[in-house]
């Protein structure tokens, strides 16, 4: 080996190790990097940002783990995602695989020259990695191991125009140095193929907007058995079921799915225009498109209408309303994942909570303290006494103090919640749905009452008074149609009055808003009026939490200060964040009560 080559290689090993160290550092901070000019590396999914004026940017999607997104992994951080961007050109994945294979082999040989005498060992190491690295270009895809042997899977239609080599590598932290080795080798193949490498101008970290799912891709309709005789109808049933639940997730309950489907009926009186639909449900076009793909809606001269299959679906939903509603409620009860990652909390409230004590008839305890107080469990006491008499060799039946059994006590702290929901125009669609979902989740998972008050246009409205009844709740929620301005002061006053006039325990007011007040109540200053109104919350000893967005931080902080509440700032007013915040706050109340 001549000296120059030796130096090159040595720098290569150094570069690789240094890159490995940095990747470890940045991945640990949940960040991705641009490696050199044209490569983006992270443990997340990546997306372009064509909607931005500035081209050439790549977004690293913090809420989309690469392993989970591309490989259906359950655990996160298992997979490193490498994208090498290039100008138009056809890249043969087998060539890439071969180069990667060779480079990894070379690298290990340089690190440990002894390996040249242990062919088997060396092959085993490299083959091991070859099975853990997956490559996809605009010509085909597969593991390095398969591609090396020219076994290639075809790419799907939407991968055809790809302008990057997409690589997924299952590597652990100690192996990150290999990323440099792999990437450098792959770049060589791009250049050799005549394509140019493309410069990534910038990288940006952020969340992907709740991805609209393309369920048309994996749900199969029609649902009558599609395999001929002897085939079971069950799987088809699961398909329809899942489709309906998807629709329910988007639109709300059975009633609202029906309302949505009516918009595509031939009855022109029941048809709702697309703008009207959007106000209530947000982006419905995606869903219409999906239903078209599933052949449930079709285009006609008079506009989009339900197909015969679509009408069958509608009928199915009506006929199975009971079970479907039950399953929808089952889904709403589910506790979301994500924990506390989607929000930050500012401030703290200390308010005393009163608790309710209940007798637990299922469990008895021996009287351990000396109070003699409690709910005596007579049968257990007698049995215990009889047994102990026998063991004590008493000559007649006696009851002693150590025989006494008492019923156990359970205590819990009821927190009745009033949601104060901003129903101004900006809350239309997903945010409205998220707030409704939170209300339903609370009623279905707790033992406490829930009320919903909205404010919009120039006024406020008690949409649902305090209730434990899910039906009452969903009926009320269905009437929320966001529009107009943000009269926050009016909303606060209405909520406080509702709480004061209802029979509630440890009331908590949860304000959900994405905006700032712009309709005054008493003066000409909407913000000042809202702050003034907030003092009523504190005066009435109502627990307050505010959920808002980062951009309104300074006003919301003032508001919480006046109302003696806690502020939660979210990057997105989605249902998981809302539920997790309220759960977190309820847990706090319990803990504070336990410590007191």
């Amino acid at each position: 080996m001549d000296r120059q080559t030796y130096v090159d290689r040595q720098t290569n090993v150094d570069k690789a190790i240094s890159v490995g160290n940095y990747l470890n550092l940045y991945f640990g901070q949940n960040q991705g990097i641009r490696l050199g000019d044209s490569v983006v590396v992270s443990r997340k999914a990546h997306a372009k940002m064509p909607e931005k004026r500035l081209k050439g940017q790549i977004k690293i999607l913090l809420n989309r783990d690469a392993g989970k997104t591309y490989l259906d992994f359950v655990e996160s951080d298992q997979v490193v995602h490498i994208d090498i961007y290039h100008k138009p050109g056809e890249i043969n994945p087998c060539d890439v695989a071969k180069a990667v294979f060779k480079a990894v082999d070379q690298y290990f040989l340089e690190k440990d020259p002894q390996l040249q005498y242990a062919e088997d060992e060396r092959f085993k190491i490299v083959a091991g990695y070859a099975n853990k690295i997956f490559i996809s270009t605009n010509q085909g895809k597969g593991t390095v191991y398969d591609l090396f042997q020219n076994i290639m899977q075809p790419i799907s239609e939407d991968e055809e125009g790809r302008d990057h080599i997409h690589m997924l590598a299952r590597l652990n932290q100690e192996e990150y140095y290999l990323i440099y080795v792999i990437t450098e080798a792959a770049e060589e193949v791009v250049l050799a193929s005549g394509a140019k490498l493309a410069k990534v101008r910038n990288i940006v970290h952020g969340n992907q907007k709740q991805a609209e799912e393309s369920f048309a891709g994996y749900i199969k309709i029609p649902w009558k058995s599609f395999k001929g005789q002897g085939a079971t109808p069950l799987p088809a049933k699961e398909n329809v079921n899942q489709l309906v639940l998807k629709l329910a997730e988007k639109f709300g309950g059975v009633h609202e799915i029906d309302e949505f489907l009516e918009s595509y009926s031939t009855n022109i009186f029941k048809r709702k225009g697309i703008e009207q639909q959007k106000k209530k449900w947000g982006d419905v076009e995606h869903y219409v498109q999906q239903l078209e793909e599933l052949d449930l809606i079709k285009n006609t001269l008079v506009g989009k209408i339900l197909t015969k299959k679509g009408m069958q679906l509608k009928e199915f939903i009506i006929n199975h309303k009971c079970e479907i509603e039950s399953e929808i409620r089952r889904n709403i009860r589910k506790v979301p994942s994500g924990g506390m990652s989607g929000f930050r909390k500012l401030g703290k409230v200390e308010k005393k909570a009163s608790c309710v004590k209940l007798t637990n008839r299922n469990k008895t305890i021996n009287n351990l303290d000396n109070t003699w107080a409690g709910d005596l469990a007579v049968p257990e006491t007698i049995i215990q006494a009889r047994k102990n008499c026998f063991l004590r060799n008493d000559d007649h039946f006696t009851v002693r103090r150590k025989d006494l059994h008492y019923y156990d006590k359970k205590s819990y702290i009821p927190v009745d919640i009033c949601l104060l929901v901003d129903a101004s125009g900006s809350m239309a669609g997903d945010k409205r749905q998220a707030a409704c979902y939170l209300a339903e989740h609370l009623v279905l998972t707790g033992k406490e009452k829930v009320a919903v008050v909205t404010f919009q246009e120039r006024d406020s409205k008690v949409v649902v008074p305090f209730t434990r009844n899910h039906q009452t709740l969903s009926k009320g929620l269905a009437t929320i149609t966001p529009a107009g301005l943000t009269p926050l002061a009016q909303g606060i006053v209405a909520a406080v009055n509702l709480i004061k006039s209802s029979n509630v325990r440890n009331p908590m007011l949860v304000l959900i808003t994405d905006g700032l007040p712009n309709v005054p109540l008493w003066s000409v200053d909407a913000k000042a009026d809202a702050l003034e109104a907030a003092t009523y919350i504190a005066k009435n000893n109502i627990r307050l939490i505010g959920i808002g967005v980062e951009s309104n931080k300074s006003f919301l902080e003032k508001l919480m200060d006046k109302g003696e509440g806690v502020l939660y700032l979210v990057d997105d007013l989605n249902r998981d964040n809302l539920i997790n915040i309220v759960r977190h706050e309820k847990k706090n109340i319990l803990q504070t009560a336990k410590m007191a």
Binding site: K15, S18, Y26, Q31, I33, R34, L35, G36, D37, S38, V39, A47, K48, P50, K55, G56, T69, L71, D72, Y85, K87, T143, D158, R162, D163, R170, E184, E187, L197, A198, K199, I203, V204, A211, S214, Y218, I219, F226, A231, L234, P235, K237, E238, N239, N241, Q242, L245, H320, C322, S326, R330, K334, V335, K363, I383, K387, N388, F390, L444, T445
Partner: protein, 406 residues
């Protein structure tokens, strides 16, 4: 009560009828199969399960043994150390396969065991000894828990006992009573449960996930949805039908035909159990299940065991002589619905249907297709880039911060 064979069958309750038979066959053969029927009111789940009591075959036990000792393999504290001759001396008796219920307000003592009050209060010869509870007494039979979600919510102690009983096949149970030695016996029982996920306190998997996973199978009940079904059900429940039905059948005594039908089931079950003991899943189907486990990252190994056991049993009660892919297919929703999300379930179901069994293995095949919109936008990248090998070490790492002009 309407006998098992006369209960109305329709699409929404079909799976439960199958599970009942599968579980009895398996239990009779010595391998429990636990299942859980979930459904709203009016689906008749408890009626079906309770009606199954009459089709249970008989089992042999050592005479008078409350633990239901199998004469060939005694396990209880009284009989486990006895020789074959000694057992023969005690004698053997036939009893119906046990079917016992645990209510949601049951107490630990009733379920596991407690001091024997009859013996303790015996005037002439009082004695402190253990009386096995419902579970040990149901050995080699069925335990039925209605409203299991409420039980799990109000009685974590009994839930823990069930977890032990269902943890392995066979499971085991400890009977503790202060002042007496602890008894630990194996129990081979199938647990059948029913619940309404829509009533307080909500679905079992939200209350105690662990317990929900212990059920090999689950079925979500549907309500009768055709006018025909409902009018049939009405007819069968009408007083006049019951009378006429009985008169027609009752040549010797009423209910003659019912008894006959029940005996038919009992015979079938005994025969099926024999087949079950001898039937193994073909290797290719076992591999197929193993591949599902890997490809879809199923968390629970129990799920795969349930698929295997369920597919064999299903083929048997359908009187087929071979287990086929469609048997596995059929039990997939039962074995997986309570363990994975709905999207994954339909993916698995449709996957098999579309591509058959031959599909290759491992990690990268479970790949989702790329989302649209990731394809090339013309001229998205305007500048050319230098390759890594021409870039100095200090320029290799670029973060969002270093790249963003401030």
């Amino acid at each position: 009560m309407i006998p098992f064979y006369r209960l109305e069958r329709y699409e929404g309750n079909e799976a439960l009828f199958e599970l009942v038979l599968m579980s009895i066959v398996s239990t009779y053969a010595g391998e429990p199969l636990h299942f859980h029927a979930e459904g709203v009111r009016g689906t008749g789940k408890t009626t079906i399960m309770r009606a199954a009591r009459d089709i249970l075959p008989a089992i042999k036990r050592i005479k008078g043994c409350v633990y239901n000792c199998d004469p060939a393999a005694p396990h209880c504290p009284h009989h486990r150390n006895l020789s074959a001759e000694e057992i023969e001396k005690i004698g053997v008796e036939e009893i119906p396969m046990p079917f016992l219920e645990i209510s949601h307000s049951a107490k630990v003592g009733t379920v596991a065991g407690s001091i024997d009050l009859a013996k303790l209060t015996d005037v002439s010869n009082p004695e402190a000894s253990l009386l096995p509870g419902i579970i040990p007494q149901a050995h080699r039979g069925i335990i039925f828990v209605d409203e299991i979600n409420r039980l799990a919510d109000t009685s974590p102690e009994i839930t823990d006992i069930l977890l032990d009983v269902m943890g392995n096949k066979p499971g085991h149970i400890q009977i503790e009573e202060a002042g007496l030695p602890v008894v630990d016996v194996t129990v081979n029982v199938s647990v059948w449960a029913a619940s309404n996920p829509d009533e307080e306190p909500g679905p079992l998997d939200e209350i105690r996930r662990q317990l929900s996973d212990r059920f090999d199978m689950v079925c979500y009940m549907g309500r009768p949805d055709s006018v025909d079904n409902i009018s049939h059900i009405l007819k069968k429940n009408s007083y006049s039908y019951k009378r006429i039905g009985n008169e027609e059948n009752g040549k010797k005594n009423t209910g003659y035909r019912d008894a006959e039908e029940n005996i038919k089931y009992q015979k079938d079950i005994a025969k099926w159990a024999e087949t079950f003991v001898k039937t193994d899943l073909p290797d290719f189907l076992r591999n197929f299940i193993a591949r599902l486990y890997i490809k879809y990252n199923l968390e629970s190994i129990r799920a795969t065991e349930a698929l295997q056991q369920g597919a064999v049993l299903y083929s048997i009660i359908k009187r087929r002589d071979k287990v086929t892919i469609s048997d596995v297919h059929h039990v997939i929703p039962m074995a997986l619905k309570h363990r994975i999300d709905g999207d994954t379930l339909v993916r698995i179901i449709n996957d098999i249907d579309g591509r058959g069994v031959k599909d290759g293995i491992l990690s990268f095949k479970g790949k989702k297709t790329q989302k649209k919109g990731e394809t090339a936008v013309p001229d998205y990248f305007q500048q050319d880039a230098r390759p890594l090998k021409d870039i100095s070490r200090s320029e290799l790492i670029n973060t969002e911060k270093t790249l963003t002009p401030s």
